[in-house]
């Protein structure tokens, strides 16, 4: 039988919500479960209300569930807010000694977290680990791997030991005091599956693709990419520059790209606004650069720690003038790795800016994935100039070719001078005002789009081909839509999914084929105006009436989608 079980850990910022949540997720991923977990936090460092949701399953899982089986409540607010979502037989672990005013009995299990932490694990700092033990105890989960998990996190030593003691205290307490049901979760076959966030997968993708240079300015939810690359810069021989602002960041990355190194930057909407001119610089100088935009609700600063998908039309059109670009939107944590590898290859192959649209939800959600097979990471640097091919004296960076792609040389690596300009230029790269040379360069830059469009993949389908109802989505909603398809099919609705992780070049034909055949189509997006629906209209002429939109900063759940579709389909 399929196990599908949900935990939630809630409390104030600063109480260690993230830590318990992560450790729970890790315990189950080590134990062979599939895990999906997401984070909800406010734009503050202490106080407020944060929570971490973990769903574990024996089958693949790509979205959170609405119901909570076990809620670890580090404060009363958590109980008040989330009690209505407790599943039948669900249990709320909380510190009854410390939490005043909790009424009613249902779901509640009092565990003296603070007392146990002080008595058995050396202090209040351990409260959250006691809670972790309590939660694991409620599912009779084997604590055998706990020590290793804690050592991996805290290093071998006193801290790890204290944590083990704390968890054991919570575990033991529940085993002896809990009078209700236990939901036993046996370990499955342990695997070497990875547990990581979208941003971690993306960062690994960049590193695996040979990215050697990043410049960025901190901004949620992109900062953790900077921080990961910075942390690994010594071991992996790469450079991460914390720039003075986003303008500097993208221009540095373009400079490094020009000099021959795979380079990237990462930011969110506001920062992207400041990078727009740099996108045009990359376009006209035909310099490869990868730009990660971790979307969050806008306009402006909006909701800084929450999620949205309302940058699509912006990134498609950011910058004046006509030129080719690429916009990719990873659908899952695993996809974040592979999409990033593709982004670096296409940036160099087509010598243009590639934008990776991710969002806060994907960036900070954890999922279990099979270890990335690095043998499959092919690095394609595109057309390179070699002194064997042609006289370096005659090298011209922007030579007009049939494909629109001119061989790249790198400054200082040979005799060829690499000349380029963000003014319109001639083939040699020197500025020109000539009408014909201008026209030729514009055409050349646009022409690159044809082979690119050829190379682009097809959207991801799910469910039977030719179903009557198609749910169309893009980016981080993939897991939720997929699961909604499963649920709706169990309802006997004939539904499938079409999910895009390449937005530009747009997979026109695939959309035409899919939408042409369905009775009803729903575009599902985290924004207020239906930006993908608009793009579909522009590219295919199809006006998709059905829109399931959400723009409150919270991610879609499968249940939300299911309900919306059911309502429409009667």
């Amino acid at each position: 039988m399929r196990v599908d079980f949900s935990f939630m850990v809630g409390g104030e910022a600063g109480q260690g919500v993230q830590s318990v949540g992560f450790l729970l997720a890790r315990m189950f991923s080590r134990g062979g479960y599939h895990v999906f977990a997401d984070q909800d936090y406010e734009s503050r460092v202490r106080g407020g209300h944060n929570f971490f949701r973990i769903r574990i399953s024996t089958a693949e899982v790509g979205a959170i569930a609405e119901d909570i089986d076990i809620l670890v409540a580090l404060n009363k607010e958590t109980i008040d807010l989330h009690r209505p979502k407790m599943a039948q037989g669900g249990i709320i672990v909380y510190d009854g000694d410390q939490t005043q005013g909790v009424t009613g009995d249902s779901h509640l299990l009092r565990v003296p977290l603070e007392r146990l932490a002080e008595e058995r694990a050396g202090g209040k700092l351990m409260i959250n680990t006691v809670a972790l033990g309590a939660a694991l105890s409620l599912v009779n989960y084997d604590l055998g791997i706990l020590e290793k998990v804690l050592e991996d996190r805290f290093g071998k030593g006193q801290v790890a030991k204290q944590n083990v003691a704390a968890a054991q205290a919570g575990y033991d307490y529940v085993q002896s005091e809990h009078k209700g049901d236990f939901h036993t979760l046996e370990s499955c076959t342990p695997t070497d599956r990875m547990l990581l966030t979208g941003n971690e997968a993306l960062s690994l993708g960049a590193i695996a693709a040979g990215c050697k240079f990043m410049a960025a300015y901190p901004m949620t939810p992109a900062s953790s990419i900077m921080e990961y690359l910075a942390a690994k810069s010594e071991d992996l021989d790469l450079v991460m520059v914390h720039a003075e602002d986003e303008i500097a960041a993208i221009n540095m990355a373009v400079g490094a790209g020009y000099a021959g190194v795979r380079a990237m930057t990462a930011t969110s909407g506001s920062g992207l606004c400041l990078m727009v001119e740099g996108i045009g610089l990359a376009a006209i100088t035909e310099t490869p650069v990868v730009i990660v935009d971790g979307q969050r609700p806008g306009p402006a600063v909006g909701l800084p720690t929450r999620t949205e998908q309302a940058d699509l039309q912006f990134v498609l059109h950011a910058h004046h003038g006509d030129f080719a670009r690429v916009v990719l939107a990873p659908a899952t944590v695993e996809d974040a790795f592979w999409t990033t590898v593709k982004a670096f290859n296409w940036a160099e192959k087509y010598q243009l800016p590639v934008i990776i649209l991710t969002d806060q939800h994907l960036a900070s959600s954890y999922a279990t994935v099979d270890q990335f097979d690095l043998a499959k990471v092919a690095i394609d640097r595109g057309l390179l100039y070699s002194e064997n091919d042609a006289d370096p004296q005659e090298y011209m960076r922007h030579r007009v070719t049939k494909s629109g792609i001119s061989p790249r040389a790198f400054p200082g690596l040979g005799e060829a001078l690499v000349i380029t300009d963000c003014d319109e230029h001639d083939e040699s790269g020197h500025l020109t005002e000539d009408a014909e040379l201008r026209t030729a360069q514009v055409r050349k830059r646009l022409r690159k789009f044809h082979p690119l469009k050829e190379e682009a993949g097809t959207p991801r389908g799910y469910g039977p081909q030719g179903a009557q109802i198609t749910l169309v989505g893009w980016g981080s909603t993939c897991g939720a839509i997929r699961e909604a398809v499963d649920i709706l099919r169990r309802d006997e609705l004939d539904v499938n999914m079409l999910h895009l992780n390449e937005l530009w070049p747009f997979p026109t034909q695939a959309l035409v084929d899919a939408i042409g055949k369905t009775r009803s189509t729903y575009v599902i997006e985290s924004n207020a105006t239906g930006q993908l629906a608009r793009l579909i209209k522009t590219e295919t002429g199809h006006d998709v009436g059905g829109r399931i939109l959400k723009y409150d900063g919270r991610p879609f759940t499968p249940a939300h989608i299911v309900e919306a579709v059911r309502k429409e389909e009667g």
């Binding site: 971690e200 810069s233 992996l236 400079g255 190194v261 001119e277």
Partner: protein, 283 residues
């Protein structure tokens, strides 16, 4: 042997008599005398009359956005520290649009040389005030006179640049010598160059500068004393000192990058063995 003719570029589109010609010549002279070949140089410029310079000499050229030559110069230098990277700006480019990059590149002390053609006006866009326009300078955007000007050399010192100099486009030898020293210096080297604009600045002319500039006595003068340097830097008006105003050995950004220890990034390849290890950290 490198000769001046190796550095012959396109015909300049500058106005006859423009101070930029002197700067162009001085730069070429410096490169020739240092025996640097064009393909070893990367010239990164912004937009403006100054920004066109790289087209009029030889070298690798990245003619970048207005106000933004410094960041791509930094990116390229980190990608390939073997390149001699020279950034080139006008005063509007460097201290107006590019002001933030200027102070932070100085602060982090990146190993590039920065030539700023300071004509105290916006040349290419036809005569608006620049951040260095003298107080009260009347232009079409400042009909009642420009505000207090910025003092770029004082600014650079305070920001943390480790080589701060001023020269004059009318003194090619002096300028060429400073450029050589700036290139030889490890760290951020600013050379602010007084550059007459014969079309739009009828105040700060060749004559005007000539009457005021005086070479700093370099002997017996402790270049690395920041307080004394600031004294020199604040001098402006009847007398304008030229030469190296401040120089010190300060931590260089690129020296703090372990990835650059063995060889330039551009010559490195990704090692999937090492990536594999990273993956296991997530299991």
């Amino acid at each position: 042997m490198v000769t001046m003719s190796d550095y012959t570029g396109l015909k300049p589109a500058w106005c006859p008599g423009c101070g930029n010609f002197g700067i162009l010549r001085a730069l070429n002279k410096a490169l020739v005398e240092m025996e640097i070949e064009p393909h070893q140089v990367l010239l990164v410029s912004g937009i403006g009359q100054a920004g066109k310079l790289p087209h009029y000499t030889k070298g690798n050229v990245f003619n970048s956005l207005h106000g933004r030559p410094v960041p791509p110069a930094i990116g390229a230098k980190i990608a390939n520290p073997e390149l001699t990277v020279i950034a080139i700006s006008g005063d509007g480019d460097a201290y107006g649009e590019g002001g933030n990059h200027f102070i932070h590149a100085a602060r982090r002390n990146h190993d590039i040389t920065y030539l700023v053609h300071n004509n105290q006006v916006y040349g290419l866009t036809k005569g608006q005030a620049s951040p260095t326009s003298d107080f009260g300078f009347v232009t079409k955007t400042t009909p009642r006179g420009a505000a207090n000007p910025v003092n770029p050399v004082a600014m650079a010192i305070v920001a943390g640049a480790s080589f701060v100099a001023r020269s004059f486009a009318g003194d090619i030898d002096h300028l060429a010598d400073l450029i050589k020293q700036g290139i030889a210096h490890r760290g951020f080297a600013l050379i602010d160059i007084l550059q007459p604009c014969v079309s739009f600045n009828h105040k700060n002319t060749f004559q005007w500068y000539r009457e005021r500039v005086h070479e700093l006595e370099q002997e017996g003068d402790d270049r690395s004393n920041k307080r004394a340097a600031l004294e020199r830097a604040l001098e402006w008006g009847e007398g304008i000192p030229i030469g190296i105003i401040y120089q010190d050995k300060l931590p260089v950004y690129e020296d703090g990058l372990p990835a650059l220890k063995e060889q330039p990034l551009v010559r490195q390849h990704v090692d999937h063995g090492r990536v594999e290890k990273l993956l296991t950290e997530f299991t």
